[in-house]
């Protein structure tokens, strides 16, 4: 243990604790800006400087370890003066257009201004370049607002392993992004949006699609359909000051009806459908592996719901694409069904349908532009808005979200099982798939408390589980005694680890779930800010609560799914399924 004094308070902390952490543990707040616990602690902004007695200069408390006998002052005259100057210098190169900025009232620089009282701007000087890169369908980069905190650099390099966001040049010419000859939209960017999620200001934001949605809503000749991803209901409440982890499913459905959407469907319905298709595909691959002589199987099979992950795979492992499930992501499936099954059923011209997906994800904005996502010349989904954008639309429409009575999803694409809910969190797709696959193979329920596979939940980077098949149904007798090995990862660095194993031929797994964002969709690039592990955990628990609160827990027991196969699709992996619900992937360049 280390003894130190902060602001005349004698403290004891463990060795290796930084001054910042020591202060925080003892309820001393040091104003800070770029710091992100366990993620980004490089002292780049210098706001958290403190005075250490005997030290020549002030020190950034987030990177300075506490040492024995240290005497620290966080609010001395010198510290407050310097902190103020650092803040003023930051602002001297920042456009002060807060009222027209997307981050107004939700900006960490404004929050800092609330702490460091500033009543005049003393410094006017050179300004950084104001380059706006809007080439990407998912992310817009506005370098004039960037304050060079480098959080996006850390997540893009260290957490996601993409390595696209980097500082270039120096001094006032410095900008953060791909290299100067590259545009985001033409780069290896996966569109995951984790950089957008951690940006403290308005320098990185989602490409806005609300204008297109408003236009469609006001167009009387169109039937506007909306669907919501599983993770949205576990985070949207935060936009309206609910505690993280508050489920707002009913209020969300009510708000969407009030906004004027003609039909409010649930992406969860298509998550159940994904399980039917992907589960069948997995069984087909497993059958090929264990029950035929050809051995032309490709295992492990990897889930394909996360478009950020898909693009990463296409760039980084173009030779391994056969491992990907051919299933479209759930919202694309729902879009395709809306413009065929639903249009037919309701006798609506598919060209007059406008499908909006509310997603926790920025990569979905890119996904709908892929040429594979058009059927008969019509886009499966016409617009994607993020959870944050939906929050803005609800506010803009003057809807008092907190006082809304719970609403419901519409039929026939609105009913879903608990298995679909957990698609929103890391480990969920795998658990949902195994609930169905295990039962199809053995005729018995998946073993485990409340149908959960405990080792697959939580925020660890790579999680694994084994499931031994005993006494299967006669049709699957060849699987008797087989141990199915599965792995789950979220965040692209973990994905690369599992893919390297596949590339080297050492992967022991049969089935792998990969979600592009750490924690899964609950902390996708389109979710409300801030996101940290504590908030991830609360959202994750909410998702499991939603699942456990339902009587219907397994995808194959969803009656509307059964009706869809009976009336329209035929059987899983059938001709119509292949046409509407499955896709192909593209080989992309490594750089």
């Amino acid at each position: 243990m280390i003894n130190l004094t902060i602001n005349n308070k004698k403290l004891q902390v463990e060795e290796g604790t930084t001054i910042f952490e020591a202060a925080k543990l003892n309820n001393i707040l040091i104003p800070h800006f770029c710091y992100m616990e366990n993620v980004h602690q490089i002292g780049s902004c210098r706001i958290c400087v403190v005075e250490v007695e005997g030290g020549k200069t002030l020190m950034a408390s987030c990177v300075t370890p506490a040492t024995e006998g240290m005497i620290v002052h966080t609010n001395s005259e010198r510290v407050r003066d310097v902190r103020k100057v650092i803040f003023e210098l930051m602002l001297s190169d920042h456009p002060k257009e807060c009222l027209s900025c997307w981050r107004n009232q939700n900006c960490e620089l404004q929050d800092l201004g609330n702490l460091i009282q500033l009543h005049e701007f003393r410094y006017e000087g050179a300004k950084s370049k104001d380059v706006i890169d809007s080439s990407s369908p998912s992310i817009v980069r506005d370098s004039s607002k960037c304050i060079l905190c480098r959080r996006c650099v850390t997540v893009c390099n260290e957490i996601q392993g993409v390595g696209l966001m980097n500082p270039h040049h120096r001094g006032f010419s410095t900008f953060i992004g791909p290299s100067e000859d590259e545009l985001l939209g033409e780069s290896v960017c996966t569109n995951c949006g984790q950089c957008v999620l951690v940006c403290p200001v308005g320098a990185l934001k989602e490409k806005d699609s609300t204008a297109a949605v408003w236009e469609a809503l006001y167009d009387k000749s169109r039937t506007v359909v909306v669907q919501t991803a599983p993770a949205v209901r576990a985070a949207l409440g935060e936009v309206f000051a609910y505690e993280p982890g508050t489920l707002v499913t009913g209020k969300m459905a009510a708000a969407l009806h009030q906004l004027g959407f003609d039909y409010v469907f649930d992406t969860n319905f298509a998550a159940d459908l994904t399980i039917m298709e992907e589960g069948s595909e997995f069984l087909e691959r497993v059958t090929n592996a264990f029950n035929t002589k050809e051995k032309n199987h490709v295992l492990p099979m990897i889930t394909s719901c996360s478009p950020g992950w898909i693009k990463f795979m296409e760039h980084r492992y173009p030779d391994q694409l056969a491992h990907l499930s051919s299933c479209k992501s759930p919202h694309m499936m729902l879009g395709a069904l809306t413009k065929t099954y639903f249009a037919e059923k309701m006798n609506i011209d598919p060209a007059k349908l406008f499908v909006v997906s509310v997603m926790p994800c920025t990569a979905k904005k890119f996904e709908i532009t892929r040429p594979e996502m058009f059927s008969n010349g019509l886009a499966d989904v016409d617009a994607v808005i993020t959870t944050r954008e939906l929050g803005r639309m609800i506010k803009d429409a003057g809807i008092d979200f907190r006082s809304l009575e719970d609403g419901e999803f519409d039929s026939p694409l609105g009913l879903s099982s608990g298995a679909a809910d957990i698609f929103g969190t890391t480990g969920g797709v795998m658990e949902a798939a195994l609930r169905t696959v295990y039962e199809l193979v053995t005729g018995r329920e998946l073993p485990g408390i409340k149908l959960h596979i405990k080792p697959l939940s939580g925020l660890n980077r790579i999680k694994t589980a084994e499931l031994k098949i005993e006494n299967p149904l006669p049709a699957y007798s060849f699987l008797n005694g087989v141990t199915v090995k599965v792995a789950v990862t979220s965040g692209l660095k973990g994905a690369a680890e599992l893919l390297e194993q596949i590339k080297n031929g050492t992967s022991p797994y049969h089935f792998i779930e990969i979600m592009g964002c750490p924690g899964g969709c609950i902390s996708g690039g389109g979710q409300p800010r801030p996101v940290n592990d504590a908030i991830r955990t609360l959202r994750l628990e909410a998702i499991y609560r939603e699942d456990e609160g339902k009587l219907l827990r397994k995808s194959h027991e969803n009656e509307d799914i059964q009706m869809l196969y009976r009336d329209f699709l035929g059987a899983p992996l059938g001709h119509k399924s292949h046409e509407l619900l499955h896709t192909v992937y593209a080989q992309r360049s490594k750089n």
């Binding site: 390595g163 696209l164 980097n166 270039h168 100067e180 000859d181 290896v188 750089n591």
Partner: protein, 166 residues
């Protein structure tokens, strides 16, 4: 280990030979990210500058993103993404050279050559760059043309010095 002297005969090399040499350099440096700056030095010695194509080549060989390569090379003024002229004229603007008139020498260079810092004359003879202290403060203001150091440079002498080279 390949040395800078060995890359001196690059003038007679084909593009393919240059890339092969660079590949060997990268292998010599064990494809380590921590050796990136040395590799960029050698690459610039081989190609004269570091165009996008060379950055891509290094990125693929080292399994790094091209953005990462670009990030490092744009930080250091030594590296250039533009082709350099036959002579690189560099004026020192470190503190000593600055106070002894380095700025006036730079302005004279700009007007005589008709180019800005970082640019190359149309005839590809001269490139202009600025250095921050080369450790020759006793010679201030100091200027280098390729590897030759010129001491106590008087702005009025600039046309003469450049004319002799042409």
């Amino acid at each position: 280990m390949i040395t800078t002297d060995e890359v001196c005969n690059v003038l007679t090399m084909t593009e393919q030979e240059k890339y092969d040499l660079l590949k060997n350099v990268i292998i010599d440096y064990e494809r380590k990210e921590s050796n990136l700056i040395q590799i960029l030095h050698m690459a610039q010695a081989i190609f004269g500058y570091l165009p996008v194509e060379v950055q891509h080549f290094i990125a693929v060989q080292m399994e790094l993103s091209v953005s990462k390569i670009n990030s490092v090379l744009t930080f250091y003024s030594f590296f250039s993404t533009q082709p350099k002229g036959k002579y690189t004229v560099s004026i020192c603007l470190g503190t000593a050279c600055y106070v002894r008139g380095g700025k006036e020498v730079l302005n004279k260079l700009k007007s005589v050559l008709g180019i800005d810092v970082g640019a190359t004359t149309e005839d590809k003879i001269f490139s202009l760059s600025v250095m921050r202290c080369i450790g020759a403060c006793g010679l201030a203001p100091a200027m280098t043309i390729n590897k030759k150091v010129y001491k106590q440079v008087n702005p009025n002498k600039i046309p003469l010095i450049l004319g002799m080279l042409k």
